[in-house]
Symmetry: C2
Subunit: 506 residues, 2 copies
């Protein structure tokens, strides 16, 4: 560090100090999701708005611009391939984005987001879309304003937002990947439906005492490598993984006594995110080299542990005896094969987060389609429920009976996360491609899982994915790891080779 240009040292110090301030806001957000008393929501919005404004002020300070201008000579940073050069490149990108946004808008987005989310929680609970509608309208307007301020190469407002979560991605790129995937998924779903095989999914809605669910979840999260010395697991309305600082990663889940997979796979999913966060270089917290590559890559980590590991036969060969023992009332008469079939039951459902591996991506495509229209101004909050239901029907052949099971189910839009959903499906694709490579390099993963050995995979991910931070763009990272360009094929192959035998497909 000492031999770096002074401007670089100053920049790093300032970025890491801004990260401290931002992380304070994360503590407040986490608390908002987990423990906030109802009447405190309004003031929490003021607190978060103030912190957002202060962070924005510092992140857009002219001195950062000056340092960045002094750092255009990449040779002084150790060459264009150096970590320092990547940090500067990403700092520049962040600075340019931030300076396009007025402080008023940033504060307003934070303030309205907090209140809107509280409104969403109540609306979803009461299945009352009308009370949420004005908040969504406000949020869409603010995000359209943000998109207009940011601009995008394509001229699409949606691209400006998407780029924030998946740097470099565009509507066009995502659409192409989805198109390739959609056809094959629809075909696979139809084949499964027509197979006549009916997994006994109802065993998963027997009685599973929540405290025991919590214990098993903690145990599994720890087993796959999430550290509770620098993390926690709590309860919130919407499961999440929230980083409150370089050694402070908080997972949440929700328990339903009559639904085993929700909390268990939710915990594995969030633990997957958490393992990524814990695998980042904590000394570079606040710099690109210490931050996640993209939300798509983030999701690749959560979906890998949730599905490619957590819903595999090998995983349950290890965990099922213990699980069966913990839930004698629900599982004493259920053998492993039946349980495995049930947790891999493929059928259209209302709720995205509870969807199986095959239909899940269709839920994303539906949202991708709808949120593009919301941000383009082609669709209003007023029309949303109707359009949601119709589009849902076109994808799944059925209509949600309530809005809570329809357009009210996800938190994202309430806090302005438009352009976020596609990263989930990208994550599934990245996950399969990366996981396939891990198997090639590490040898027989199922044999390891069967013995409860998850450390080799975790450490391989630490080294090949986490350690790079945001040095590469997501598709570059995938190509660097796997040696082949990013593609939907590994995901399709995985689904076919897993569900083909399960459903007796030819």
């Amino acid at each position: 560090m000492d031999d770096m240009p002074q401007a670089y040292q100053d920049l790093v110090q300032e970025l890491q100090s801004i990260a401290v301030l931002r992380s304070c806001a994360s503590v407040l957000s986490w608390d908002e999701q987990t423990y906030l008393p109802p009447e405190a929501a309004e003031y929490r919005a003021e607190q978060l708005s103030l912190l957002a404004g202060m962070s924005h002020d510092r992140a857009t300070s002219p001195k950062i611009g000056e340092w960045l201008e002094q750092l255009t000579d990449e040779a002084a940073l150790g060459g264009s391939e150096s970590v320092a050069a990547a940090n500067v490149r990403e700092a520049k990108r962040g600075y340019e984005r931030s300076t396009k946004l007025p402080r008023r808008l940033v504060e307003e987005l934070s303030r309205v987001g907090t209140l809107s989310q509280q409104a969403w929680i109540t609306a979803r609970k009461n299945d009352d879309y009308e009370t949420f509608k004005p908040w969504l309208t406000k949020m869409i307007a603010l995000k359209r304003e943000e998109a207009a301020a940011l601009g995008s190469e394509s001229g699409l407002a949606y691209d400006a937002l998407l780029d924030d979560y998946e740097p470099g991605a565009t509507t066009e790129i995502v659409s192409q990947a989805f198109q390739q995937l959609r056809e094959q998924l629809v075909e696979l779903v139809a084949a499964i439906r027509d197979s006549g095989v009916e997994p006994q999914h109802e065993i998963l809605t027997r009685r599973y005492p929540t405290e025991t669910q919590r214990q098993l979840g903690l145990h599994a999260a720890k087993a796959i490598g999430f550290s509770f010395e620098s993390g926690r697991l709590d309860v919130s309305a919407h499961p999440m993984c929230c980083t409150l600082g370089p050694r402070d990663c908080r997972l949440t889940t929700r328990y339903d006594e009559k639904h085993f997979p929700g909390a268990f796979f939710g915990t594995l999913h969030e633990a997957g995110h958490g393992i990524y966060e814990q695998g980042l270089d904590s000394s570079a917290y606040g710099l690109a080299s210490g931050e996640a590559c993209s939300l798509g890559i983030h999701e690749s980590q959560s979906r890998m542990w949730e599905n490619l590991v957590g819903r595999s036969m090998a995983f349950w060969e290890h965990f099922y005896p213990e699980t069966q023992q913990l839930f004698p009332e629900a599982l004493s008469d259920v053998d492993l094969a039946t349980f495995y079939g049930a947790i891999n039951d493929v059928r259209p459902t209302w709720i995205r987060v509870e969807a199986d591996e095959v239909t899940y991506n269709l839920h994303i495509m539906l949202r991708f389609e709808i949120e593009q229209a919301l941000i383009a101004g082609d669709l209003s909050a007023e029309e949303l429920p109707d359009v949601w239901n119709k589009t849902f029907h076109s994808y799944f052949g059925m209509t949600p009976p309530t809005h809570a099971l329809g357009c009210l189910q996800d938190v994202h839009w309430s806090i302005g996360l438009f352009g976020y959903f596609p990263t989930y499906a990208l994550g599934n694709m990245y996950a399969s491609q990366i996981f396939q490579q891990a198997g090639t390099e590490l040898g027989d993963l199922p044999t390891m899982f069967r013995k409860g050995e998850f450390t080799p995979l975790k450490e391989w991910l630490n080294k090949n994915v986490h350690a790079h931070g945001r040095y590469y763009r997501a598709p570059q990272l995938v190509e660097k790891i796997t040696g082949t360009p990013f593609s939907a094929e590994p995901l399709v192959n995985h689904l076919r080779s897993k569900f083909g035998p399960l459903y007796g497909l030819g």
Copy 2:
């Protein structure tokens, strides 16, 4: 507000905005006490230090000084008796204190305080004073530096610190009040010891399942008037009440299956603090008119609900049948009189927070004596354990067997709270005097408690204590409420009239 001078409006806006920022730090502090993963402590110190520095910068900004200078004409504020004049007076006091402290010191106090507290937690757990000693040494040095920067009329460093918690109080005032009290307490303790009466305190260390303890605590806190719509109860190493915003008051307690009174009276105690906080004018949050009068008055509220209400016979005439039902294993063979005797068992103990009403104040006097010496520079962290044990022996005739039961028991010094302890004993005195007046005005309080009616007292406190915020100094407030000057006599009278009959004293 609109007819107030512009400088007043600006001042109020800025003070309330600083309060938002300070409240963010409170969220982080609360989380530190309750849910922080072990490895996150170091970064939490950075976060809190940054927020402390930023708050300090704003609180000492010259524009506040300019507004205050423009507001010397109290007539423009509605006269010297107006709430606005009191707000300005207190703002001036706060500004003058703050501007005497360099930002570096404020940040250092925050940073070291966070780490030192973590060290204290570990040291107490392991009964290992040596690991805590360097932190305490550092803390004493920082607080001495703070006291020197602040100065005091008496010239005593300790007075500069005391004044922060109990505005207007001095070593001399406190010493006089304590002297008056000590003699009579020692006499009463001796009489009780010689009475031959032996309450069956061992019934309180039978098995009380913690989840049931929690439920009873929640129920009782709610019954006396703490609102869980704008508050919570969690678990922490050291019980506390922490305000995170105008409608966000967090209580904590700790449960021990083999010790009923700890969590129960701890919860009542913290709920008493919480009821005070919830009774303050939330629209004036950040101004003197919306803040507590002093820590002594704060403690008067917690001790009133804990002891004057919660350890009274009438309270248990209402709560005992339910309690007995909740803990059949521990209490089915215990009648009300025996239980009442046990929770009012007077005997020397090691731990302050578990002490009875009579000996409690002696624990405070001990600390008052010792912390004066620490701050005066007459006593070092090196010498503390030995001096603690000797002084403890002089007060209680016995020597703590471990440091965890001795000088390591309290969190206060680890976070630099020197000058804080005396407010606990002042609180006991204020509480008795105020409670006596409440009885005079409201009529027969025990009859109300017997019926589970706590609202009249709570609302009387709302009106007579809470609504005034920090308009008055503590002794003034007590005199205004009761019509007589502050005195230790009501406390002594209360103790004699309660414990005399219990121990068959003449």
